[in-house]
């Protein structure tokens, strides 16, 4: 087989082979830029993705083996919070708490009103009635204070406290302290090359954190547009070439028989 690939051929073939991943990256870029507004964290798709290698049984087992938090409760029960869910150790076996699903567990604490679990999709409480999600959001930690109240930290919500696991209040004294803090800590933060590279990549360097979605959307949409129009042009050229070839065969057949 003779290989005589010119720059245009290389361009065409690499584009055609990679056009589907290209479209996938472009589309997901736009989703990532607006993940918070779209509430992507709240939409569970576990049953639909188990066929993907990254979410297969082995990948899930590996995730489950990554322990993020552990706790031995007063009744002797051992709890393990992993990247792939919460487990209770019973008779040497790890039993998954189905209510929490495969959400990543960040922290565990025992309180007078039950077990409090900080996870990636919210704060869960296991009281006398069983499990319930007390707070939605990206929870980082949970700790029991000396007064019996539990404090949890959530992304964008800050520190919230509760004495019953139902009613959660912002920690006002802490909030007042934080708001009184001078912004010097951030202003004097040195910018490393890693920061600059990342901020140029995400557009934060040009638009700021709040508007970086403009940069991401722009590039994501252009990526989708170029990928799709390129694929369309290639498809048109291939079907035209096929039609012309069929026409030639028909003409040659007619010439032979006619």
């Amino acid at each position: 087989m003779k290989l005589n690939l010119k720059a245009r051929d290389w361009h065409n073939w690499i584009s055609v082979i990679l056009v589907l991943p290209m479209l996938l990256v472009g589309l997901t870029t736009v989703f990532i830029a607006h993940s918070k507004k779209l509430g992507l964290e709240e939409i569970e798709v576990t049953p639909f993705v188990s066929w993907l290698p990254g979410y297969g049984a082995q990948a899930m087992q590996e995730m489950a083996a990554e322990v993020r938090a552990s706790l031995v409760a007063a009744d002797g029960t051992q709890w393990l919070g992993t990247k792939g869910g919460l487990y209770r150790i019973t008779d040497g076996r790890a039993v998954q708490e189905a209510e929490l699903g495969r959400t990543e567990v960040r922290d565990l604490t025992e309180s007078p009103f039950g077990l409090v679990v900080a996870t990636r999709n919210g704060v869960w409480v296991r009281g006398a009635q069983g499990w319930h999600m007390a707070l939605r959001g990206d929870a980082w930690d949970a700790s029991l204070g000396s007064d019996g109240a539990v404090a949890v930290t959530l992304k964008d919500k800050g520190v919230l406290t509760s004495r019953d696991g139902m009613d959660w209040q912002a920690d006002e004294p802490l909030r007042a302290t934080l708001s009184g803090m001078p912004g010097q800590a951030d202003a004097n933060k040195p910018v490393t090359l890693q920061n600059l590279v990342m901020d140029l990549h995400t557009g934060k360097a040009f638009f700021g954190k709040g508007s970086e979605w403009i940069w991401i959307d722009l590039l994501g949409v252009v990526w989708i547009f170029l990928g799709f129009t390129g694929l369309y042009m290639w498809w048109r050229s291939q079907t035209k070439r096929r039609d012309a070839a069929i026409k030639r065969v028909n003409a040659a057949t007619e010439a032979v028989h006619g």
Partner: protein, 47 residues
């Protein structure tokens, strides 16, 4: 509301990917067919 828009956008994205996949497979088949036709036509021309 956010969830509804997310599902709507996901549906649109999925549709776009399916169309792209169909075009990709169809284009490859057209290319193969064109090559086959050329191979069939070439010996006849020599006659």
């Amino acid at each position: 509301m956010g969830n509804f828009i997310a599902l709507l956008l996901s549906g649109f994205a999925l549709l776009l990917l399916v169309i792209a996949l169909v075009m990709f497979v169809h284009g490859l088949r057209a290319r193969l067919e064109a090559r086959r036709c050329s191979e069939v036509a070439a010996p006849r021309k020599r006659h």
